[in-house]
Amino acid sequence: MSGTPGKPMGWLPAPVVELLDAALVADLTVVGQRGRPLTHPLIPFWDGERILMTSSALFSRKVEHIKRDPRVAVAIVDREALTKPLQARATIQGIARIVEDDPHVTWERVLPLWRAKEPVIDRFLKMRFALPLFFERAIIEVTPTRCLWWADGDTSHEPSEARAPRPTRGRAHV
């Protein structure tokens, strides 16, 4: 299985990893307070083992939802929101963990991945004083458990499926 240079190998299929590395938007679906599935568009990062996303304190309801029920899905479907042209589409189910011990700085560990995918983040970081609450962020770490993907992007066909080698238990929060 191929992977992103410098990142550990995981069980996710190569086309899905490539998609995660290129996606500027992924749909994160969480279980809402009343059990309703709720979807939030976010930029995803792949660290070789987990999908990492961040949520501003301003839009942190999803974080509260994940603390209650850590089961999530991450779908990458928008071909326009990719850093390079790719045909594949995928949806990944997983268990999320919230990292928020210091929302001012902890999320910055995602910055190298963010910078590599979307260098414009540095431009926004320079305006941190103007958007202070936007840069108070929690990390959403998603450990994939199951993946469905369409290598040619044609979702009228049955998807390929892969599962994590062994059940992965996530913690609700740190």
């Binding site: 938007v25 279980v31 899905a73 929101a81 004083f129 103007a130 049955e158 998807p159």
Partner: protein, 451 residues
């Protein structure tokens, strides 16, 4: 968002995803091939995804989402929008028919990102409250100390102080009196009063509700937001304000002792009273439509006379005349910055001139005031009260006309930002040119060219 509206928006997207909770209750999201919106029926139909793993359930709630962003390399993104609907699905042969009952969405063309973010501030504060409870220690948003001071005091607005104080010093210097030490202390004291005023204004606007009701703050309006954002508490801001006023009063007393000027003592006391009464009860001048006059008085005659009297020990007619255009330009900064705050100010009972006037009158009054300011400079020169080179300040007139046009084009806070920035520039440029006129006169006199 209304379902019909959401369906209309959904029909503009090239793709969508359907999501639900699977048999084990975990969320699952699947791209939908070729969907069609039937506005009349209020439904969305699409080919049923192939395979048992992605069978859309008909016995429980499902959702649909679609969105769009446009990447602007090196700048960021625009055209950000998405729409999300919830309802039930049923099968119709090979197709799934989705009947939405609820919808939600965001389109930055309708709700700008800054306002969208501002509407999330209460959620952010709740979030930090939850974190504090969970970790057993107070947790709140942070900024580096320097940036926090910059933001809390609204430091860039100090130009409103520098213009009258430097002009007062220049007028004194033209009359042959200039002491660098007392001039320096005057600048520091005036800056401290100004920053103390900015901070106390935030304290009372938070206390009286005006800033909390404002969802469209800009860098020029709506206050510093440090209290609303939880960066500093109201008490910390009150202490900061008291510290700044305290420093200003202390330096002022030193200057009074050094100059032995009763006039300076009177001006200083008047300045502090006007400054404090700007937002603070019982006077709350800005809430009574007197804010512009208070600011004009404080950042015009009081600052300019103060600087002049420190140097000369008396007030002159020249200083009076020179202070009037400066007073008008600074009042116009407040006046224009109040335009986007109009709804929040009205809701909080803050009856500023902008709240009291009709939009047409707001614009007309701006033009009249700006032209009056320039006319006073011309009249001052014609009466030989101001030196001839100060006429160079008329070069700032196009800026006033630019602002006049700008405030007539929109009442949207973000649309007004350019006009607000130009208006601040007007005060700075006109004041700076007046100062340049004085410095030219002083320079010419030093070289024996003129007096």
């Amino acid at each position: 968002m209304e379902v019909a509206t959401a369906l209309g928006k959904l029909s503009e997207y090239p793709y969508c995803s359907v999501f639900w909770r699977d048999d084990e209750g975990a969320p699952l999201s699947v791209p939908v091939p070729r969907f069609a919106v039937d506005q009349a029926e209020g439904t969305v139909s699409f080919e049923a995804p192939t395979g048992e793993a992605v069978r859309v359930p008909t016995e429980r709630e499902v959702g649909l989402i679609s969105g769009h962003i446009r990447r602007q390399p090196g700048i960021g993104y625009d055209e950000r929008r998405y729409v999300e609907l919830w309802g039930r699905a049923r099968t119709d042969g090979e197709r799934v028919v989705f009947e939405p009952t609820d919808a939600w969405g965001w389109d930055e063309a309708e709700l700008p990102f800054m306002e969208y973010s501002e509407r999330g501030v209460d959620q952010a504060i709740r979030y930090f409250g939850g974190l504090s409870a969970r970790f057993g220690r107070p947790m709140r948003p942070r900024l580096q100390a320097g940036w926090l001071f910059f933001r809390a005091t609204r430091l860039p607005f100090l130009s409103a102080t520098f213009v009258p104080v430097l002009l007062g010093l220049a007028i004194a210097a033209r009359s042959g009196t200039f002491d660098p030490l007392t001039a320096f202390l005057t600048v520091i004291a005036a800056a401290a009063v100004h920053l103390g005023l900015n901070v106390s204004n935030d304290v009372f606007d938070d206390l009286l509700g005006a800033d909390r009701l404002n969802y469209t703050p800009t860098p020029y309006s709506g206050g510093s937001r440090v209290i609303q954002y939880g960066l500093l508490s109201r008490r910390e801001m009150a202490l900061l304000s008291a510290g700044l006023y305290g420093a200003a009063i202390l330096i002022g007393l030193v200057l009074v002792a050094m100059t032995r000027s009763v006039e300076l003592l009177v001006i200083g006391v008047a300045g502090v009273i006007i400054s404090l009464s700007y937002t603070a009860p019982p006077l709350k001048l800005v809430y009574r439509g007197l804010g512009e006059f208070a600011v004009a008085l404080g950042f015009g005659p009081v600052m300019l006379f103060g600087a002049y009297v420190v140097q000369t020990g008396h007030i002159s007619l020249e200083a009076v005349v020179a202070s009037v255009p400066v007073a008008i330009f600074v009042a116009l900064i407040l006046y224009v910055n109040e335009i986007p705050d109009r709804p929040a100010d009205a809701a909080a009972g803050k009856r500023t001139l902008v709240v009291r006037f009709s939009p047409e009158t707001v614009r007309l009054a701006y033009l009249v005031a700006a032209i009056a300011a320039f006319a006073i400079i011309v009249a001052g020169v014609a009466a030989s009260l101001l030196p001839l080179p100060t006429l160079v300040a008329l070069a700032a007139l196009p800026l006033a006309l630019q602002v006049y046009r700008g405030i007539g084009q929109t009442t949207n806070a973000y649309g007004l930002m350019s006009a607000m920035a130009t208006n601040i520039k007007l005060h700075l440029v006109a004041g700076g040119l007046l100062l340049a006129g004085y410095l030219t006169t002083i320079g010419a006199a030093a070289f024996g060219l003129a007096r």
